[in-house]
C-alpha cells in the first residue's frame, strides 16, 4: 500500500476516533475500496501514482467522509438518546408516584443529571430531550389534580438538557476549533 493511502487511512482513523466513531471494520472496508479503486485505475492505463490520486479524490476528503459517518451515526444515536430520555422520564414518574417516596431533591437532581448527560453525549435538540424526560410528571399531575402550574416541572430537565448541550459545545470548541 502506498504512503498516500496509508496517510489517508491514518488521518481518517484519527478523525473517526476523535469523533468517537472509530470502527475497525469500517476502516478495513475503506482500505479495500481504495485498493480496488487504484487497481481499476491502473488497469485503465493510469500510472500507480495518478491512480492513487484519483482514487482518493473520488473517495472524498477525510473531513467529508468523517462528517458523513458522523451524520449517519447521529441518526441512530439521536433516536436512541431520545428513547432513553422518554424511559427515564417515565421512570421518574413511577418513582414520584410511589407513596413512600418523598425525596424531591433526589428526583430533581436525577432529572437534571440524566437530561444533561443525554445532550452531553450528543443529542442535538435539548428542548426535545427536556420534553421527553419532563412531560410525564406534569401530565400525570394535571390529569389527577388539574394543576396547570405543574408544567413548571418541565423546566428541570430543560435546564439540565441545555446545560449538557452547552458543556458539549464548549468541549467541541476547545478540541475542534474548526
Amino acid at each position: 500500500m502506498s504512503k498516500q493511502i496509508q496517510n489517508y487511512l491514518r488521518a481518517l482513523k484519527r478523525q473517526l476516533w476523535l469523533k468517537g466513531l472509530f470502527n475497525a471494520d469500517a476502516l478495513d472496508e475503506v482500505e479495500s475500496h481504495l485498493l480496488e479503486s487504484v487497481e481499476t485505475g491502473i488497469r485503465r492505463g493510469l500510472s500507480a501514482e495518478e491512480s492513487e490520486r484519483q482514487a482518493l479524490e473520488q473517495f472524498g476528503s477525510v473531513k467529508a467522509v468523517s462528517r458523513a459517518f458522523e451524520k449517519e451515526r447521529n441518526y441512530i444515536m439521536q433516536t436512541l438518546l431520545l428513547g432513553i430520555a422518554a424511559l427515564a422520564g417515565l421512570f421518574s414518574l413511577y418513582v414520584d408516584t410511589r407513596p413512600t417516596w418523598d425525596d424531591t431533591g433526589i428526583l430533581v437532581g436525577g432529572l437534571l443529571l440524566v437530561s444533561g448527560l443525554l445532550t452531553l453525549l450528543g443529542h442535538r435538540r435539548p428542548w426535545l430531550i427536556g420534553l421527553a424526560m419532563g412531560i410525564w410528571i406534569p401530565m400525570y399531575e394535571i390529569y389527577k389534580s388539574h394543576d396547570i402550574m405543574m408544567l413548571v416541572v418541565l423546566l428541570i430537565p430543560l435546564i439540565g438538557a441545555y446545560g449538557g448541550w452547552l458543556v458539549r459545545l464548549g468541549i467541541r470548541k476547545t478540541f475542534h476549533p474548526a
Binding site: 471494520d25 469500517a26 478495513d28 472496508e29 475503506v30 479495500s32 475500496h33 485498493l35 480496488e36 479503486s37 473520488q58 473517495f59 472524498g60 476528503s61 467529508a64 467522509v65 458523513a68 459517518f69 451524520k71 449517519e72 451515526r73 441518526y75 441512530i76
Partner: protein, 105 residues
C-alpha cells in the same frame, strides 16, 4: 445541485442496486455511477455510512468474504429491506408523477 437532490433518495437507490444481487461497497458505487450514466457521482466515501445505517435499520445485512486476497464486505437486502424498497418505489412513483405533472413534462 444533483448531489443535494440525491441525498434524499440515496436509500432508495442503494436498496434498488442491491435488489438485483448482493454486492460489496465498491460494486454498489460503480453500479450507481454506471446506471445513472455518471450523473450520480457522489464522493464514494459518503456511501459507506449510508450502507451501515441501512444495515443498522435491518434493511441490509452484510457478510465478509475473501476475494483476490482481499477482505470484502458484501451487502444484501433483508426481507425487511425488500418491503422498504417496495414502499419507497411506490412513493417515488407518486412523487415523480406529481412533479412531472406540475412542471409539465
Amino acid at each position: 445541485m444533483i448531489g443535494e437532490a440525491l441525498k434524499g433518495h440515496l436509500d432508495l437507490l442503494l436498496l434498488s442496486i442491491l435488489a438485483n444481487r448482493p454486492a460489496h461497497g465498491y460494486a454498489v458505487i460503480e453500479s450507481l455511477r454506471s446506471r445513472s450514466e455518471g450523473t450520480f457521482d457522489l464522493p464514494e466515501g459518503t456511501v459507506y455510512p449510508a450502507l451501515h445505517r441501512l444495515e443498522d435499520q435491518g434493511l441490509l445485512e452484510s457478510t465478509w468474504s475473501q476475494d483476490s486476497g482481499r477482505r470484502k464486505r458484501v451487502y444484501q437486502l433483508t426481507p425487511k429491506g425488500q418491503e422498504a424498497l417496495s414502499t419507497r418505489q411506490d412513493e417515488w412513483l407518486k412523487f415523480s408523477k406529481a412533479v412531472n405533472a406540475t412542471v409539465g413534462i
